[in-house]
Symmetry: D2
Subunit: 352 residues, 4 copies
């Protein structure tokens, strides 16, 4: 294209593909070159909504289209690696749906390949581009909360039991990617314990509790649940200065910052005296105004910017790999009857 | 007394004692004979509110009062055993605040002594006498929820850090006594895992997560937290037929029964087919009207009735001991880095 | 068309037109023949989303298209009459946005013309096709509420001050059309009082209160407000048997039916005795499950059904005229310093 | 008393009297000398809770008690005048329950008599001493809201139909006394329109709407309702700079200040241009922390302070008379079929 736009192929015309296509199509940064799906009909219907894209039935055809800069992958997780490696081999930048892959080794190969090829590898951790999460990350980085004391995330509703994954792999990637984004050092827990409930005897967890030890006595907890009659999406981030609540289902008050905390003076060996040295603050609550922006439009803009500026995007492959490693540890903890599982060390060559 | 009332001594005139005195005093079943507190001033001020009670400074004096039928203990947990055993030895019926004692062995000695003496030993598990919990227990026993699929209890707020106990021993007795009351077979978990956060370095958990495996893939979970900026007291009981939410802070809609569930046909070995056999129901919601009654007035009435009818009260010593055993397992799990701890077997001689 | 579909022209490609086009286009009953807008560009962009429609710039061109059965008008209210009369004169069925017209006389001419021509005239009172309002109407007709005792509707938010209408004409048509739909006898108030606030000196009401006397001591009240910082859309319908609340912004509990009421025995002349004969009921609350359906899809289906079955649609021109008469009375009351204004009598020849 | 406390007699031991007695008794400013009630038994039971008060059966006996400084009247409104005039004649300061009296003339005589006698006459407008209302008044006086644009108060619930008064006289005194307290110039409406619903044929309004024109296009509206299934106590005060919502049933967020408003530049004669000059602000929301104090304890402290400092109390007789005049206008408007009623002019001699 001569108009300075980047050209993208969207692979997968199922559940999420149309959202990507719509946002790429509305973006001043992007031109949708093709929609790719094994079911050509489906690809055609989606391509048609763009006025520009052609429909193709294979990644080979897609990569053969002249001038394609990037490939966006919205297919099941188990197919991400093959598509991504083919795209990277062809020199294309890659965006994948969450999770990055269905196992850590695949994710590591994808990150390595992109690093070697010098292309961007980015994960569509959509929630990280919502105005609420952007504001939360900004507040934490600015020190508004002080030191983080605990993190509690609840994501429950009467959801569909998925045929191929448990409730952790289905829902927790959202929470984990958000935590990776907002925690000052990213999501690097010392250990992960997972507790699953399978009351229907389906052979996998429908009710999940995930505990991550973040060091210094700080615990992050995720409750993921397909069987709840009510829908809750709430994140609490406790801090020594202030504490924050994100209620994603309350459109008029998504983020509340409570000026409540514990002013702690010194620790002594005597428990009673220590308690006496704790003092409580009950201050005002503040609800920052948030802009009304669609997260996906910010996400595709960040993808374009990272390519043009030759830098890692905010939710890059390494971030996605951190999420994947925690999911992997979750599964190992479940297999070990909820014993704490260590999170695999990051490969130095990748980090460097 | 000639008026047919039972006569009670209330021991402890601190935080909870006045509530007991007020309810005993208002009850047609009871006559408050004495208030007992080491600080005689405090005992006198409380006794004075009854028009009938004398103030005494020791349990010995209290037990020496003629015609006393029962002793109600509202002192710290570590003092319960000595007071209770003295009262039981004097042939008095005993009511104790929660928890029954500060260790399992003490609790067992109390239960044994009461059984041998043939007196009532009851725990003031106040929440079990609220209209909401009574309704929940009734619905579960009537089969309205079907089989229980999960239990999730959240009890968090900006609370006082206690000098002598952690957040589990401070808050979870409420949840555990409620679970013991509403679960068809009482609270008898196979194993207990506890995860504590101590971000302030106080040497004890301020943020607590407790997972209890109830068998058949059913998990009960409790979140207890002193550091939350917002107050939540919510219990969700999932069932195969219906699911129930108790929101104790919503006075106009405390208990909601959702006719939502998963209609499950048969289990096959194939996960995908099993999933296909899951069907979802989204039915009406029903909010039962609840009477406005003070729980403590029902509690003291039950104490009187159990004495007169020579039967175990609803929240008897054995129930309180089950709660105590889970708290004990919680502490052992915490010491074992959150490894699952078994709950001590119940003593047959006590159960029989 | 040979496929049995009805053919419609949508006039007006501004704010609401796209919603109509999308729903007609998705409906199995309809084929969109053309989009008509003075700004041909805008018409073309909208027509293009249908794969079937052509774009035209005048109603004359639209009516000249062969095989058109109906015209849907989504232009400003002051233009409705001319377009509708042209369409009716050409033998087309007509759907108009709310309100039917910007004055009663225009509305009456439209209803008369349609009646004489034997074509359907329908108003797009969208809310009357939401699952919530359909359920409310069903409950009232089934006698579940008993006799209606009062109606209170609040529709307030931080809204845009409209250049050409006041807050009554902007927001109240929603409430009035809903009331006309759910009240057993339609909206036929004896008198209307309107109170407007104009604190910004804009020369028109930004804050509006509308009181309608429905007879037998029953009052319906509407609060419409552009200046509220919070958004509320709530309708309460009191009844002698039960009372109903519709909270349109609570997706998990839109309609609640309270089994609360006043059981009233007999009226005596003595006010004190009358009061003594009032008894109160505090029963359960019931939240009926509602289907997830887009109201506009039900609306276009009703338009098609009324044409095919040669009957009046649910929200026909007469219903829209009743709404218009109340709006007209509102303006007259405002001019008369809030004195009650009578609602113009319905023309017998039209009703018959 | 030698301890510097003021001595008060509480008249009326029914519904509200015990609250007054409890707060006078706990106050360091007050000594309860007597409780007076025609039913001496009732007076005795209440007097007994104070350790200091005697019980008497008539106001004459009460006034004969040596050293009494003040009389607090918690009897039905129709009896206020006689008791208050007797107390004033005896040189006592007077506190009355709301409303001040059951008619304007009585209220005027009470205010005149107190002014002439040089004693304090105060109304127990309890809500004006809640931390929420005190904060609202403070914010308005500090100019935080800018110019007030509208006031909307809703006070509805499933309440008891009162035998002797309508819903306006029962509930609206709360709203009116709050408005008088928070409005910069007090409650001095130009005209009052009242609309009542009497769907049960009780001969008085059970559903009430009250519209007060405050000048400059500003309207204050009160919705009082005994028949609502849900309880709402909400006050919205719109301002040109910010808008405030008080939700008295939300203990964790009673007062919210929305930085939303309309920035208005200039008024032109052209409505369309005027609209174009309106711009909207969507800023943050702020929830001020409020102390946990019982309003009545602040109220009795203010009563004492006004006596000692020889000044008018915050909610003095004149304020109560303004409330009474609006209630009187309400009744006159109801009799005149909701025609606007003027509010009686304040007597110059009283104001001066």
């Amino acid at each position: 294209m001569d108009d300075g736009r980047l050209s993208v192929v969207v692979v997968g015309a199922g559940y999420w593909g149309p959202n990507l296509v719509r946002n790429f199509n509305l973006s001043p940064d992007w031109h949708v070159a093709a929609v790719c799906d094994r079911e050509l009909d489906r690809a055609e219907r989606l391509a048609w909504t763009t006025r520009s894209a052609v429909a193709v039935a294979s990644i080979e055809e897609a990569l053969a289209i002249e001038g394609v800069d990037a490939v966006a992958i919205a297919t099941p997780a188990r197919t991400h690696e093959a598509i991504a490696l083919a795209a990277i081999a062809a020199g294309k930048h890659v965006l994948t749906e969450k999770p990055l892959a269905d196992n850590v080794e695949s994710g590591e190969r994808m990150v390595s390949a992109a690093a070697e090829a010098g292309v961007v590898l980015m994960a569509d951790h959509t929630f990280c581009y919502t105005p609420a999460v952007l504001k939360i990350a900004e507040l934490i980085r600015a020190g508004e909360l002080g030191e983080i004391t605990f993190v509690d995330s609840v994501r429950i509703n009467h959801g569909l039991v998925q045929p191929d994954v448990d409730v952790f792999w289905d829902l927790a990637p959202h929470d984990l990617s958000i935590l990776d984004f907002i925690l000052p050092d990213g999501l690097r827990p010392e250990a992960v314990s997972a507790h699953g409930g399978d009351p229907l005897g389906l052979g996998k967890a429908c009710v999940g509790y995930l505990i991550m030890r973040l060091g210094k006595g700080v615990v992050a907890h995720v409750h993921a649940n397909w069987l709840s009659p009510t829908k809750i999406r709430q994140l609490v981030v406790g801090g020594t200065r202030r504490t924050l609540v994100w209620d994603d289902l309350n459109p008029t008050q998504r983020v509340s910052v409570y000026d409540r905390g514990i002013d702690f003076v010194t620790v002594t060996e005597d428990a009673e005296r220590a308690a006496a040295q704790v003092s409580y603050r009950y201050g005002d609550t503040w609800v920052p105004a948030l802009p009304e922006v669609e997260a996906l439009s910010l996400m595709v803009a960040e993808f374009a910017a990272s390519i043009r500026e030759d830098r890692a995007p905010r939710t890059d492959g390494r971030a996605a790999l951190r999420v994947l490693r925690v999911l992997d540890a979750t599964s190992r903890s479940l297999e070990a009857h909820s014993a704490p599982a260590e999170v695999a060390a990051e490969q130095k060559e990748i980090i460097a």
